[in-house]
């Protein structure tokens, strides 16, 4: 009887750990907090790239339906790749694209915009990276879609935009309207 219990216990533990590990295999390694729990503080202060004025994120969100916050830097190569997608999204006219220039030099940032075009309605700078952490970001590039009226995060992309994400973004904007 005692032997049976032991055997059952061992088998149970092996099966249990097998399934736990199996489940872990399918999980992505990139951990991202769920959207509901990450609330944005719209009141953090930051300076504009093209002027020395201080502003808050709250002031930058305008009367359009959606805002797209994009964190970028001139030294970030994937940002270069995703830039055409931002220009494309800007041409839709439905988005207010806000750029956050992450840990960059002013000269290089301006050169980047001059060279590749400016999809942003406003660009604010984040020289120490602190503002990006206030947004719950990991690094560059990162893109956050916000509903301007409800001030909620609709979608968050870690890493550069691509064709798939672009279609998805367009779908979300279409469906929310």
């Amino acid at each position: 009887m005692v032997k049976n219990i032991k055997l059952i216990a061992v088998v149970f533990l092996v099966v249990l750990s097998f399934f736990i590990l199996l489940k872990g295999l399918n999980k992505t390694n990139n951990y991202s907090p769920n959207l509901n729990s990450s609330n944005i503080d719209f009141n953090f202060k930051a300076k504009f790239l093209y002027s020395n004025e201080e502003t808050t994120l709250y002031k930058l969100i305008n009367d359009k339906d959606f805002s797209l916050i994009n964190i970028w830097a001139s030294w970030c190569l994937p940002c270069r790749d995703e830039h055409p997608y931002l220009l494309n999204l800007n041409s839709l006219g439905k988005l207010n694209i806000i750029g956050i220039n992450y840990k960059d030099s002013e000269v290089n940032a301006k050169k980047f915009i001059k060279e590749l075009g400016n999809p942003y309605s406003k660009i604010i700078v984040d020289p120490s990276g602190v503002n990006s952490i206030e947004l719950g970001a990991y690094g560059v590039p990162e893109t956050i879609l916000i509903n301007n009226k409800s001030k909620t995060i609709l979608k968050k992309y870690i890493g550069p935009l691509d064709d798939k994400k672009l279609t998805e973004l367009k779908m979300i904007i279409k469906n929310e309207n």
Partner: protein, 120 residues
């Protein structure tokens, strides 16, 4: 002899500089040791030199300067990045298994040993 004094003075200056530097950020060190660096998993924010971790340390220093206590800083970061960022997760319905399972295994093992002994 003069060189000896000079060298000793330099060492002393370097030493005192390090001490004052450490004293400034001791609190930051203490907090950042409990935080997981999210983009360089396996390291704490304290250990990491990634952009993310460096910014995090500046942010922690800012929050301390604002007069926030440890608890408030952890809560702030948890609200941004989730429970995962702290190495010491609190007990809630998602983590209850994590906390209770070792206890169950311990009791179960205890019972096994107890039975074995009493049979003998």
């Amino acid at each position: 002899m003069k060189i000896k004094i000079l060298v000793l003075t330099i060492f002393y200056l370097i030493g005192s500089f390090n001490i004052s530097y450490a004293a400034n950020s001791e609190k930051v060190d203490q907090i950042s040791k409990n935080l997981r660096c999210l983009i360089c998993q396996g390291q704490s924010v304290y250990d990491s030199q990634s952009d993310f971790a460096l910014s995090m340390k500046i942010l922690i220093q800012n929050k301390i300067d604002e007069g926030k206590n440890d608890e408030q800083i952890y809560d702030f970061l948890k609200s941004k990045y989730g429970d995962w960022i702290v190495y010491d997760p609190e007990i809630n319905k998602n983590t209850v298994l994590l906390w209770v399972l070792p206890l169950i295994l311990f009791v179960f093992g205890g019972i096994l040993i107890f039975r074995k002994i009493s049979i003998k």
